[in-house]
Protein backbone atom coordinates (compact mmCIF):
# COMPACT_ATOMS: atom_id res chain seq x y z
CA UNK A 1 0.00 0.00 0.00
CA UNK A 2 1.44 3.41 -0.93
CA UNK A 3 2.38 5.61 1.98
CA UNK A 4 0.64 8.78 3.07
CA UNK A 5 3.40 10.83 1.54
CA UNK A 6 2.93 9.24 -1.87
CA UNK A 7 -0.76 10.07 -1.72
CA UNK A 8 0.01 13.65 -0.77
CA UNK A 9 2.29 14.06 -3.77
CA UNK A 10 -0.36 12.58 -6.04
CA UNK A 11 -3.09 14.84 -4.68
CA UNK A 12 -0.93 17.93 -5.06
CA UNK A 13 -0.12 17.08 -8.68
CA UNK A 14 -3.79 16.44 -9.43
CA UNK A 15 -4.59 19.80 -7.90
CA UNK A 16 -2.17 21.47 -10.28
CA UNK A 17 -3.66 19.66 -13.25
CA UNK A 18 -7.12 20.76 -12.21
CA UNK A 19 -5.90 24.34 -12.00
CA UNK A 20 -4.50 24.20 -15.54
CA UNK A 21 -7.58 22.59 -17.07
CA UNK A 22 -9.86 25.04 -15.31
CA UNK A 23 -7.86 27.97 -16.64
CA UNK A 24 -7.88 26.53 -20.15
CA UNK A 25 -11.61 26.11 -19.90
CA UNK A 26 -12.01 29.77 -19.04
CA UNK A 27 -9.69 30.89 -21.83
CA UNK A 28 -11.58 28.74 -24.33
CA UNK A 29 -14.88 30.14 -23.12
CA UNK A 30 -13.67 33.66 -23.83
CA UNK A 31 -12.32 32.68 -27.24
CA UNK A 32 -15.49 30.81 -28.05
CA UNK A 33 -17.59 33.90 -27.34
CA UNK A 34 -15.37 35.92 -29.62
CA UNK A 35 -15.65 33.32 -32.37
CA UNK A 36 -19.40 33.33 -31.98
CA UNK A 37 -19.52 37.10 -32.29
CA UNK A 38 -17.45 36.87 -35.45
CA UNK A 39 -19.91 34.34 -36.82
CA UNK A 40 -22.73 36.71 -36.01
CA UNK A 41 -21.17 39.62 -37.88
CA UNK A 42 -20.32 37.45 -40.84
CA UNK A 43 -24.00 36.63 -41.09
CA UNK A 44 -24.72 40.28 -41.87
CA UNK A 45 -22.33 40.07 -44.76
CA UNK A 46 -23.62 36.77 -46.06
CA UNK A 47 -27.26 37.92 -45.90
CA UNK A 48 -26.42 40.99 -47.93
CA UNK A 49 -24.32 39.01 -50.38
CA UNK A 50 -27.11 36.50 -50.86
CA UNK A 51 -29.51 39.31 -51.53
CA UNK A 52 -27.26 40.71 -54.23
CA UNK A 53 -26.79 37.29 -55.82
CA UNK A 54 -30.51 36.69 -55.61
CA UNK A 55 -31.09 40.00 -57.34
CA UNK A 56 -28.68 39.01 -60.06
CA UNK A 57 -30.18 35.57 -60.45
CA UNK A 58 -33.72 36.90 -60.45
CA UNK A 59 -32.87 39.44 -63.12
CA UNK A 60 -32.78 36.52 -65.54
CA UNK A 61 -30.23 36.03 -68.22
CA UNK A 62 -27.89 33.11 -68.57
CA UNK A 63 -25.36 33.05 -65.78
CA UNK A 64 -22.12 31.48 -66.79
CA UNK A 65 -18.61 31.86 -65.56
CA UNK A 66 -15.38 29.79 -65.63
CA UNK A 67 -15.88 29.09 -61.91
CA UNK A 68 -19.26 27.51 -62.63
CA UNK A 69 -17.99 25.14 -65.27
CA UNK A 70 -18.74 21.53 -64.37
CA UNK A 71 -16.11 19.14 -65.61
CA UNK A 72 -15.66 15.43 -65.44
CA UNK A 73 -14.08 15.13 -62.04
CA UNK A 74 -10.65 13.53 -62.05
CA UNK A 75 -8.49 15.71 -59.89
CA UNK A 76 -9.87 16.73 -56.56
CA UNK A 77 -8.53 19.24 -54.08
CA UNK A 78 -9.76 19.08 -50.51
CA UNK A 79 -9.32 21.98 -48.12
CA UNK A 80 -9.33 20.69 -44.56
CA UNK A 81 -9.85 22.76 -41.46
CA UNK A 82 -8.48 21.65 -38.10
CA UNK A 83 -7.00 23.37 -35.10
CA UNK A 84 -3.31 23.94 -34.44
CA UNK A 85 -3.45 22.71 -30.89
CA UNK A 86 -4.83 19.58 -29.34
CA UNK A 87 -6.67 19.10 -26.06
CA UNK A 88 -10.03 19.47 -27.70
CA UNK A 89 -11.28 15.88 -27.52
CA UNK A 90 -12.24 14.30 -30.85
CA UNK A 91 -12.57 17.57 -32.72
CA UNK A 92 -9.55 17.07 -34.99
CA UNK A 93 -9.50 13.29 -35.00
CA UNK A 94 -13.08 13.04 -36.15
CA UNK A 95 -12.41 15.28 -39.10
CA UNK A 96 -9.15 13.58 -40.04
CA UNK A 97 -10.78 10.16 -39.89
CA UNK A 98 -13.67 11.45 -41.95
CA UNK A 99 -11.36 12.90 -44.58
CA UNK A 100 -9.19 9.78 -44.65
CA UNK A 101 -12.18 7.56 -45.25
CA UNK A 102 -13.32 9.89 -48.02
CA UNK A 103 -9.88 9.57 -49.58
CA UNK A 104 -9.84 5.78 -49.34
CA UNK A 105 -13.35 5.37 -50.69
CA UNK A 106 -12.72 7.59 -53.66
CA UNK A 107 -9.14 6.61 -54.40
CA UNK A 108 -10.26 4.54 -57.40
CA UNK A 109 -12.81 7.01 -58.60
CA UNK A 110 -10.50 9.98 -58.96
CA UNK A 111 -7.05 10.27 -60.40
CA UNK A 112 -5.68 12.38 -57.60
CA UNK A 113 -6.94 13.68 -54.31
CA UNK A 114 -4.72 16.41 -52.95
CA UNK A 115 -5.07 18.60 -49.90
CA UNK A 116 -4.70 22.09 -48.65
CA UNK A 117 -4.61 22.01 -44.88
CA UNK A 118 -5.46 24.78 -42.48
CA UNK A 119 -4.22 23.91 -39.04
CA UNK A 120 -1.24 21.92 -37.85
CA UNK A 121 -3.21 18.88 -36.74
CA UNK A 122 -4.62 18.16 -40.15
CA UNK A 123 -1.30 18.80 -41.83
CA UNK A 124 0.62 16.42 -39.60
CA UNK A 125 -1.93 13.67 -40.15
CA UNK A 126 -2.47 14.08 -43.87
CA UNK A 127 1.05 14.68 -45.09
CA UNK A 128 1.91 11.08 -44.25
CA UNK A 129 -0.65 9.64 -46.63
CA UNK A 130 -1.26 12.24 -49.32
CA UNK A 131 0.07 15.24 -51.14
CA UNK A 132 -0.46 18.46 -49.26
CA UNK A 133 -0.26 21.34 -51.71
CA UNK A 134 -0.17 24.04 -49.08
CA UNK A 135 -0.52 24.35 -45.35
CA UNK A 136 -1.66 27.32 -43.31
CA UNK A 137 -0.55 27.30 -39.70
CA UNK A 138 -1.53 29.64 -36.91
CA UNK A 139 -4.53 30.95 -38.79
CA UNK A 140 -7.39 28.82 -37.60
CA UNK A 141 -7.72 29.86 -33.98
CA UNK A 142 -8.46 33.48 -34.78
CA UNK A 143 -9.49 33.62 -38.44
CA UNK A 144 -8.90 36.68 -40.57
CA UNK A 145 -10.50 37.37 -43.89
CA UNK A 146 -7.08 38.06 -45.39
CA UNK A 147 -6.11 34.38 -45.04
CA UNK A 148 -9.42 33.20 -46.47
CA UNK A 149 -8.93 35.46 -49.46
CA UNK A 150 -5.43 34.16 -50.01
CA UNK A 151 -6.66 30.56 -50.01
CA UNK A 152 -9.72 31.43 -52.07
CA UNK A 153 -7.68 33.17 -54.74
CA UNK A 154 -5.25 30.29 -54.83
CA UNK A 155 -7.82 27.56 -55.34
CA UNK A 156 -9.69 29.61 -57.91
CA UNK A 157 -6.51 29.99 -59.90
CA UNK A 158 -5.81 26.25 -59.64
CA UNK A 159 -9.36 25.51 -60.73
CA UNK A 160 -9.35 27.86 -63.69
CA UNK A 161 -5.92 26.65 -64.79
CA UNK A 162 -7.34 23.14 -64.87
CA UNK A 163 -5.07 21.78 -62.13
CA UNK A 164 -8.13 20.53 -60.31
CA UNK A 165 -11.66 19.78 -61.48
CA UNK A 166 -13.29 20.04 -58.10
CA UNK A 167 -12.50 21.79 -54.85
CA UNK A 168 -14.09 20.54 -51.65
CA UNK A 169 -14.11 22.03 -48.18
CA UNK A 170 -13.87 19.58 -45.30
CA UNK A 171 -14.64 21.13 -41.94
CA UNK A 172 -16.48 20.55 -38.73
CA UNK A 173 -19.97 21.84 -39.19
CA UNK A 174 -20.86 23.83 -36.10
CA UNK A 175 -24.21 22.49 -34.95
CA UNK A 176 -23.98 23.60 -31.35
CA UNK A 177 -21.38 24.08 -28.66
CA UNK A 178 -21.59 20.38 -27.88
CA UNK A 179 -21.83 18.96 -31.33
CA UNK A 180 -19.66 19.44 -34.39
CA UNK A 181 -20.15 17.20 -37.37
CA UNK A 182 -17.50 16.71 -40.06
CA UNK A 183 -18.91 17.68 -43.45
CA UNK A 184 -17.82 18.04 -47.04
CA UNK A 185 -19.04 20.98 -49.11
CA UNK A 186 -18.25 21.54 -52.74
CA UNK A 187 -16.63 24.93 -53.15
CA UNK A 188 -15.83 24.79 -56.85
CA UNK A 189 -17.39 24.62 -59.35
CA UNK A 190 -19.94 27.05 -57.97
CA UNK A 191 -23.29 25.44 -58.54
CA UNK A 192 -26.08 27.38 -60.12
CA UNK A 193 -28.45 25.70 -57.70
CA UNK A 194 -27.08 27.83 -54.90
CA UNK A 195 -28.07 30.98 -56.70
CA UNK A 196 -31.52 29.53 -57.22
CA UNK A 197 -31.90 28.62 -53.59
CA UNK A 198 -31.32 32.18 -52.54
CA UNK A 199 -33.87 33.28 -55.05
CA UNK A 200 -36.59 32.63 -52.51
CA UNK A 201 -35.72 35.97 -50.96
CA UNK A 202 -36.19 37.57 -54.34
CA UNK A 203 -37.53 41.03 -54.44
CA UNK A 204 -38.90 42.28 -57.70
CA UNK A 205 -36.64 45.31 -57.56
CA UNK A 206 -35.33 46.35 -60.93
CA UNK A 207 -31.68 47.03 -60.29
CA UNK A 208 -29.33 49.03 -62.39
CA UNK A 209 -26.18 46.96 -62.83
CA UNK A 210 -22.92 48.79 -62.94
CA UNK A 211 -20.93 47.48 -64.83
CA UNK A 212 -23.11 45.00 -66.77
CA UNK A 213 -24.53 41.85 -65.22
CA UNK A 214 -21.93 39.53 -66.70
CA UNK A 215 -19.01 41.63 -65.51
CA UNK A 216 -20.61 42.02 -62.14
CA UNK A 217 -21.06 38.28 -61.84
CA UNK A 218 -17.44 37.61 -62.69
CA UNK A 219 -16.51 40.16 -60.05
CA UNK A 220 -18.91 38.77 -57.49
CA UNK A 221 -18.32 35.04 -57.81
CA UNK A 222 -14.70 35.01 -56.63
CA UNK A 223 -15.80 37.01 -53.63
CA UNK A 224 -18.51 34.51 -52.75
CA UNK A 225 -15.95 31.74 -52.96
CA UNK A 226 -13.54 33.59 -50.69
CA UNK A 227 -16.33 34.28 -48.29
CA UNK A 228 -17.25 30.59 -48.18
CA UNK A 229 -13.69 29.80 -47.23
CA UNK A 230 -13.89 32.44 -44.53
CA UNK A 231 -17.12 30.97 -43.25
CA UNK A 232 -15.48 27.56 -42.97
CA UNK A 233 -12.70 29.21 -40.99
CA UNK A 234 -15.17 30.79 -38.62
CA UNK A 235 -17.09 27.58 -38.09
CA UNK A 236 -13.88 25.74 -37.45
CA UNK A 237 -12.75 28.32 -34.90
CA UNK A 238 -16.04 28.31 -33.03
CA UNK A 239 -16.04 24.51 -33.07
CA UNK A 240 -12.46 24.27 -31.86
CA UNK A 241 -13.00 26.53 -28.89
CA UNK A 242 -16.31 24.92 -28.02
CA UNK A 243 -14.77 21.45 -28.20
CA UNK A 244 -11.85 22.52 -26.02
CA UNK A 245 -14.22 24.13 -23.58
CA UNK A 246 -16.14 20.87 -23.22
CA UNK A 247 -12.97 18.76 -23.03
CA UNK A 248 -11.43 20.95 -20.36
CA UNK A 249 -14.62 21.00 -18.38
CA UNK A 250 -14.66 17.20 -18.39
CA UNK A 251 -10.97 17.11 -17.44
CA UNK A 252 -11.56 19.44 -14.49
CA UNK A 253 -14.42 17.27 -13.24
CA UNK A 254 -12.27 14.15 -13.58
CA UNK A 255 -9.42 15.75 -11.69
CA UNK A 256 -11.77 16.76 -8.90
CA UNK A 257 -13.15 13.21 -8.68
CA UNK A 258 -9.66 11.76 -8.53
CA UNK A 259 -8.62 14.18 -5.82
CA UNK A 260 -11.58 13.09 -3.77
CA UNK A 261 -10.79 9.42 -4.32
CA UNK A 262 -7.14 9.83 -3.35
CA UNK A 263 -8.01 11.91 -0.32
CA UNK A 264 -10.14 9.07 0.96
CA UNK A 265 -7.32 6.61 0.30
CA UNK A 266 -4.81 8.87 2.01
CA UNK A 267 -6.99 9.17 5.09
CA UNK A 268 -7.37 5.42 5.15
CA UNK A 269 -3.60 5.01 4.92
CA UNK A 270 -3.14 7.48 7.74
CA UNK A 271 -5.64 5.68 9.91
CA UNK A 272 -3.94 2.36 9.14
CA UNK A 273 -0.60 3.82 10.15
CA UNK A 274 -2.04 5.11 13.44
CA UNK A 275 -3.68 1.77 14.19
CA UNK A 276 -0.46 -0.11 13.48
CA UNK A 277 1.49 2.23 15.71
CA UNK A 278 -1.03 1.87 18.54
CA UNK A 279 -0.98 -1.90 18.26
CA UNK A 280 2.79 -1.82 18.42
CA UNK A 281 2.83 0.39 21.50
CA UNK A 282 0.24 -1.74 23.26
CA UNK A 283 2.13 -4.91 22.34
CA UNK A 284 5.37 -3.34 23.57
CA UNK A 285 3.78 -2.35 26.90
CA UNK A 286 2.31 -5.83 27.29
CA UNK A 287 5.69 -7.45 26.83
CA UNK A 288 7.25 -5.24 29.52
CA UNK A 289 4.85 -6.49 32.18
Amino acid sequence: MPSQKEYNVKIASLGNTAKVTKTMNMVSTAKYRKAQDAQGSSKLYSDQLNQVIAGLAASGGELSHPLMKTLEVKKVLVITFTSDKGLCAGFNNNLIKFVESFRRENADKYETIDFITCGKRGYNALRKTSTVVANYDDKTSNPEFETAREIGDKVQKLFIDGEYDQVIIANNNFVSALSQIPTLTTLLPVSGAEAEETESTDNATDYIYEPGQAELLSYLLPKTVNFQVFKAFLENAAGEHAARMAAMDAASTNAKDLIQKYTVLRNRARQAAITTELTEIVAGAESLK
Binding site: S41, G55, Y207, E210, L216, F227
Partner: protein
Protein backbone atom coordinates in the same frame (compact mmCIF):
# COMPACT_ATOMS: atom_id res chain seq x y z
CA UNK B 1 -32.87 64.40 -47.23
CA UNK B 2 -30.82 61.68 -45.73
CA UNK B 3 -30.55 57.94 -46.01
CA UNK B 4 -29.01 54.89 -44.35
CA UNK B 5 -25.43 53.88 -45.02
CA UNK B 6 -24.07 50.50 -43.95
CA UNK B 7 -20.53 49.34 -44.46
CA UNK B 8 -20.01 45.66 -43.83
CA UNK B 9 -16.91 43.50 -44.08
CA UNK B 10 -16.87 39.73 -43.56
CA UNK B 11 -15.40 40.28 -40.12
CA UNK B 12 -17.59 43.08 -38.78
CA UNK B 13 -20.03 45.89 -39.27
CA UNK B 14 -17.76 48.87 -39.83
CA UNK B 15 -20.26 51.68 -40.08
CA UNK B 16 -23.98 52.14 -39.81
CA UNK B 17 -25.68 55.50 -39.77
CA UNK B 18 -27.63 58.20 -41.50
CA UNK B 19 -25.80 60.28 -44.07
CA UNK B 20 -26.70 63.06 -46.51
CA UNK B 21 -24.65 61.90 -49.45
CA UNK B 22 -22.04 59.31 -50.28
CA UNK B 23 -19.37 59.08 -52.94
CA UNK B 24 -18.15 55.64 -53.98
CA UNK B 25 -15.19 54.37 -55.97
CA UNK B 26 -17.08 52.38 -58.63
CA UNK B 27 -15.36 49.99 -60.99
CA UNK B 28 -15.95 52.41 -63.88
CA UNK B 29 -15.12 55.51 -61.89
CA UNK B 30 -16.35 57.36 -58.84
CA UNK B 31 -20.02 58.06 -58.47
CA UNK B 32 -22.19 59.80 -55.94
CA UNK B 33 -25.42 58.66 -54.32
CA UNK B 34 -28.04 60.99 -52.86
CA UNK B 35 -31.33 60.03 -51.28
CA UNK B 36 -34.02 58.43 -53.40
CA UNK B 37 -31.44 56.96 -55.71
CA UNK B 38 -32.70 54.26 -58.08
CA UNK B 39 -32.00 50.66 -57.09
CA UNK B 40 -28.46 49.86 -58.07
CA UNK B 41 -25.88 47.12 -57.68
CA UNK B 42 -22.34 48.08 -58.49
CA UNK B 43 -18.84 46.76 -58.04
CA UNK B 44 -16.44 48.85 -56.01
CA UNK B 45 -12.76 49.22 -56.72
CA UNK B 46 -10.02 49.87 -54.19
CA UNK B 47 -10.37 53.44 -53.07
CA UNK B 48 -11.90 55.87 -50.64
CA UNK B 49 -15.56 56.18 -49.81
CA UNK B 50 -16.64 59.62 -48.72
CA UNK B 51 -19.81 60.50 -46.95
CA UNK B 52 -21.30 63.75 -45.72
CA UNK B 53 -23.11 64.12 -42.43
CA UNK B 54 -24.31 67.59 -41.39
CA UNK B 55 -21.90 69.27 -43.76
CA UNK B 56 -18.95 67.26 -42.46
CA UNK B 57 -17.09 65.03 -44.87
CA UNK B 58 -15.64 61.76 -43.71
CA UNK B 59 -13.74 59.17 -45.62
CA UNK B 60 -13.24 55.42 -45.29
CA UNK B 61 -10.75 53.38 -47.25
CA UNK B 62 -12.27 50.38 -48.99
CA UNK B 63 -10.55 47.41 -50.51
CA UNK B 64 -12.89 46.27 -53.25
CA UNK B 65 -16.40 44.97 -52.90
CA UNK B 66 -19.96 45.84 -53.86
CA UNK B 67 -22.63 48.27 -53.15
CA UNK B 68 -26.34 47.72 -53.19
CA UNK B 69 -28.62 50.73 -53.24
CA UNK B 70 -32.25 50.00 -52.60
CA UNK B 71 -35.05 51.90 -50.94
CA UNK B 72 -32.82 54.58 -49.43
CA UNK B 73 -30.47 52.05 -47.90
CA UNK B 74 -26.93 51.94 -49.21
CA UNK B 75 -25.18 48.72 -48.23
CA UNK B 76 -21.50 48.53 -48.95
CA UNK B 77 -19.87 45.11 -48.78
CA UNK B 78 -16.12 45.44 -48.77
CA UNK B 79 -13.33 42.93 -48.34
CA UNK B 80 -11.89 45.25 -45.77
CA UNK B 81 -12.50 48.80 -44.66
CA UNK B 82 -10.36 51.22 -42.72
CA UNK B 83 -11.81 54.01 -40.67
CA UNK B 84 -9.87 57.25 -40.49
CA UNK B 85 -7.66 57.57 -37.41
Amino acid sequence: MSFQLKIITPARLVFEGTVDSVRLPGLDGDFGVLDNHAALISGIAVGALQYDVNGQRKSIKLEGGFVEVNDNVVSVLADSAQLPE
